[in-house]
């Protein structure tokens, strides 16, 4: 079966490029060498000449140029493909792939590209690889043809559609064909059919296509196109609500992660912990250090570095938290103002300490590939990193509920917060429980830092951006109640994201602050106020 497809493709290649004389090796080498000298305009011409050859050896060369791997050898002006080697750069011949040995970087001159050239190369490679046996390559080619919709491609596209077996790629190709038909002077009936096909796509790309053709379309088709644009617009408006909701949930998950540790230290213990943000920051730096260690010890594990970073961040920040509780906070119980000032001072100390050790600039935390990129589902787009952060936030929330409600430590924590003296009289070591509780809150903040390192700066200022939001979430949700924190994060996140498109980010933030102030005026104890004696004390 596979061989049959290959034969077919080989045949199609032959058909597509039959009129072109097979190029001698030297000609191609000369044409590739023409990529080297001159301005961007000269290079554009050289690319066009190469594409016109239709030679199958051309796409890898163009790809190398686009990736910045094409160099001029200073000694003889030959254009070569160079990749990083242990010493200097490893050269290969662009025509026959022969190994040309290694050279130091100073002996080579990189051939510059710009966005215009890369765009042109993408189109060219699309043209040349539309019949490629490789499925992802073909899909990329079809998308690139769709993007550029060059009428000259029509014939080749028809061949490709006839040969295509994958329904997804085929529909992309058919859409591209419709777009091209709309650009040419095909008959009105053909165009009408093409418009129907585009409208049936019912997504933003289709709407863009229709908008582009509206001006140049024949007059009798204009109402059809306009109606198509409107109908897609209505569908998209509905999907936009869903997309906003998704953005809101994503923001909520970040808020929840940042706030949930505070819900323990502030909510359960009543300690106004201004250094909470710095625990998040330390968690992010732990991720950075973990990656450094993994990079040097076991580079193969880099993809899973976050799996190591999460427990490491939890342990380190929990230990620091316990140290802070034993060293500072336990002397200040019952004196909220002094706790506030002391922890705030501590936050400045920690920031400057990190700045001194790691330097003031941002640190690079490598995103694993499974957390990069977007995937589309219906008309919604999800970014993988945000999706994983939502999952992580839910996991942390559940784990915390289990710890508080199902473990002896959780029982003791609740006992101490509800009635310290009684708990003490029952034989619970309250100072130990205090330290553990504060350590747990800090540790969770550290784990939040691992997640935030994927979407935010890893810099000494990281924590500052989250401390106010965290307090808002905890106070809004109701102090001392984890479910309140969850609902608080969800409502603030979603409300913020629904306001943003209309009011802008600045006004949305102000509006949320005002709403919270008004809400706290009405219900000083937040959404879910604790009832009973614990509140009075």
């Amino acid at each position: 079966m596979a061989t049959r497809i290959l034969t077919l493709i080989a045949f199609l290649f032959a058909v597509a490029f039959a009129p072109l004389p097979a190029l001698a090796q030297d000609d191609l080498a000369a044409e590739i060498n023409a990529l080297g000298p001159g301005s961007f305009a000269d290079r554009t011409k050289a690319i066009d000449v190469l594409v016109a050859t239709g030679d199958e050896r051309v796409p890898p060369v163009l790809q190398a140029l686009s990736d910045g791997n094409l160099y001029i050898r200073r000694s003889d002006g030959k254009v070569v493909i160079a990749t990083k080697a242990a010493v200097g750069l490893q050269l290969t011949d662009p025509v026959d792939g022969a190994d040309l040995g290694a050279l130091p970087a100073s002996e080579l001159e990189k051939i510059k590209t710009n966005n215009g050239l890369r765009g042109r190369i993408r189109t060219a490679i699309g043209k040349l690889t539309l019949l490629s046996p490789d499925q992802p390559v073909r899909l990329a080619a079809a998308q690139s043809v769709l993007k550029n919709a060059d009428p000259a491609m029509l014939e080749l596209l028809d061949q490709a559609i006839a040969a295509e077996t994958d329904p997804g790629i085929k529909s992309t190709m058919e859409l591209a064909r419709s777009v091209i038909v709309l650009k040419t002077d095909a008959s009105v009936d053909d165009k009408r059919a093409a418009i129907d096909l585009v409208v049936a796509q019912n997504n933003r790309a289709a709407q863009t296509v229709l908008r582009n053709t509206l001006d140049t379309a024949p007059d009798e088709l204009k109402p059809t196109i306009a109606a198509g644009i409107d109908s897609i617009g209505r569908t998209l408006a509905v999907w936009d609500v869903g997309q906003n909701l998704l953005y809101g949930i994503s923001l909520s998950s970040v808020l929840l992660l940042a706030a949930i540790g505070l819900a323990i230290t502030f909510g359960v213990m009543g300690v106004i912990n201004m250094a909470h943000g710095e625990m998040v920051m330390l968690g992010a730096y732990t991720t950075y250090v973990t990656q450094l260690v993994i990079q040097s010890v076991a580079p193969g594990l880099m993809e899973y570095s976050l799996a190591f970073a999460v427990p490491a961040a939890f342990l380190i920040t929990a230990l620091i938290g316990i140290g802070i509780e034993r060293g500072i906070i336990r002397w200040l119980y019952g004196r909220p103002l002094e706790t506030l000032l002391a922890t705030w001072g501590l936050s400045l100390v920690l920031q400057q300490l990190v700045r001194t050790i790691f330097g003031p600039t941002n640190k690079l935390v490598q995103p694993p590939t499974w957390m990069s990129g977007t995937f589309e589902l219906w008309n919604l787009s999800f970014t993988w990193n945000r999706l994983w952060i939502i999952v992580f936030a839910i996991a942390v929330f559940i784990a915390l509920q289990i710890i508080l409600n199902r473990t002896p430590l959780g029982l003791q924590m609740r006992a101490v917060t509800q009635n310290r003296r009684m708990a003490s009289a029952m034989g619970i070591r309250t100072p130990f429980v205090d330290a553990m509780t504060f350590g747990l809150g800090s540790g969770i903040a550290g784990m939040a830092g691992v997640a935030l390192s994927q979407i935010d700066n890893v810099s000494p200022n990281l924590g500052q951006g989250y401390i106010i939001d965290s307090f808002m979430v905890v106070v809004f949700g109701g102090v001392g109640n984890l479910w309140g924190t969850l609902i608080g994060a969800l409502s603030l996140g979603v409300a913020n994201k629904f306001l943003e498109p209309y009011a802008g980010a600045v006004l949305a933030k102000i509006a949320i602050l005002i709403l919270i102030i008004l809400f706290i005026q009405r219900r000083p104890r937040g959404l879910f106020a604790l009832k009973g004696r614990a509140v009075e004390s």
Partner: protein, 437 residues
């Protein structure tokens, strides 16, 4: 609060000293010329300004190796205004009045510059300001060694409008909400309209400082860019907000070939904290890139790495501006034969020093410099590659000719005593500068 931050500043300094950076200070206790360094070493701006403090110590060290100025060694007086605008004014006063520095090199944000201005006027000292800014200012006591809008923003827009830059027809001005982006966007909006861009093809969006959730904004950019015309984003997003912005761009797959983003506040230093492989092709407009192939630049980078003891540290545009400002000051002092403010200001106008990209920086009568404008594309290794540059150097324009209210306004400080920062050539009068917006 002040106690803590002062303690922190002392702590920071102590560490810097142990690193050997400030070691020369004590050695030349007698008969030195003091130079003030006013950059935040703590707080939000420390991320950018600490490097400039190091740069100043590096430059002073280099100058002392060459024998100092007027036969005297230079001595750096470093203070930490802690990213706190009013504290900038206090620290400036301390530097000039208490320490008696001959000149001050410092400030990053426009807010901090505006805060120290009255102090410099009152005590008649000189500030060398090394950062690109929004223009609309020319003061007797300030030498602006960074770019004015016509040396950065306008050429960048021109490039994107050109065939080579992609013939952009639709513009998103994405910005952080404070004075520099607001003024720059005012100038750019007017400029785009003058060039025939329809108002519905311009979208301006402001976000708060330190903004970290860019999902909605990036989605809006994608949607705005799907209207069928070539779209570009002009970003004046500043500081911490940049990393999450670019991460979101990369994740949502906004490629530079479709919607290029040109930034005015993102340099090599900012890129150091990002994985740039998904950002290749996005642009920045500056007057200097570390990647510029020039002997003077190679020498500068080599010495900088030796001084800082880390060959991974990047150089960037404000560092070059600090380098130019410092060399101009040294030359002006040598020429005037004194560090007296008025004499140095009189000597400095018209002085020229070679810059690091092969051109010449000349001090214009309006206290701005001539600079080349470079457009660079981000590379996978975190550096920029110059794809376009102006022919020759562009003179800095303090009062933008694009704004109707600034047409015909010039500044001339050739004679510091009788000069004027806002001279209306139409009415031949020296106007009072309008209050900052």
């Amino acid at each position: 609060m002040t106690g803590i931050s002062r303690m922190m500043a002392g702590f920071g300094l102590g560490v810097a000293m142990t690193a050997g950076a400030l070691a020369p200070i004590t050695a030349y206790a007698q008969d030195t010329i003091k130079v003030g360094v006013l950059h935040s070493l703590s707080g939000t701006m420390a991320i950018s300004e600490t490097t400039l403090k190091d740069t100043m110590l590096f430059l002073i060290d280099e100058q002392n190796k060459k024998g100092g100025v007027l036969g005297k060694k230079l001595e750096a007086v470093v203070v930490d205004p802690a990213s706190d605008w009013p504290l900038f004014a206090e620290k400036a006063r301390e530097l000039i009045a208490v320490n008696g520095v001959a000149a001050v090199f410092g400030c990053w944000t426009s807010s901090s510059r505006k805060s120290v201005l009255p102090v410099f006027k009152e005590l008649n000292s000189i500030l060398f300001y090394p950062v690109q800014y929004e223009g609309e200012e020319s003061e007797k006591n300030v030498i602006y060694t960074g770019a004015a809008p016509n040396q950065q923003a306008i050429p960048a827009v021109d490039y994107l409008m050109s065939e080579e830059g992609g013939a952009v027809k639709r513009w998103v001005l994405e910005a952080t909400d404070y004075v520099y982006p607001r003024t720059t966007n005012k100038i750019l909006e007017q400029y785009l309209k003058d060039k025939g861009v329809a108002p519905e093809d311009i979208k301006i969006n402001y976000t708060p400082f330190g903004f970290s959730d860019w999902q909605t904004e990036v989605a809006a950019i994608k949607e705005f860019g799907s209207a069928g015309k070539k779209t570009a984003v002009v970003s004046t997003i500043n500081g911490d907000a940049n990393v999450p912005f670019y991460k979101e761009l990369a994740n949502q797959g906004v490629s530079a070939e479709d919607i290029p983003v040109v930034a005015f506040s993102v340099g090599e230093e900012e890129l150091a904290g990002m994985d740039t492989s998904a950002l290749v092709g996005h642009l920045a407009a500056w007057n200097y890139f570390q990647s510029v192939d020039n002997p003077a630049n190679a020498e500068f980078i080599k010495n900088w790495h030796a001084f800082i003891g880390n060959d991974k540290r990047t150089t960037n545009d404000p560092m070059e501006a600090a380098y130019l400002g410092f060399n101009l000051w040294v030359q002006a002092v040598e020429k005037a034969g004194t560090t007296d403010t008025d004499a140095v200001l009189k000597a400095i106008v018209g002085l020229e020093v070679p810059n690091l990209t092969g051109g010449t920086a000349k001090v214009l009568p309006n206290h701005h410099l001539t600079k080349p404008v470079l457009i660079g594309e981000i590379q996978a290794d975190g550096q920029f590659e110059t794809v376009w540059q102006t022919e020759g150097d562009v003179p800095g324009d303090a009062w933008s000719d694009v704004l109707p209210e600034d047409k015909g306004i010039e500044a001339d400080w050739t004679d510091p005593l009788t000069g004027c920062g806002r001279f209306n050539t139409a009415t031949n009068t020296c106007e009072v500068a309008p209050a900052a917006m």
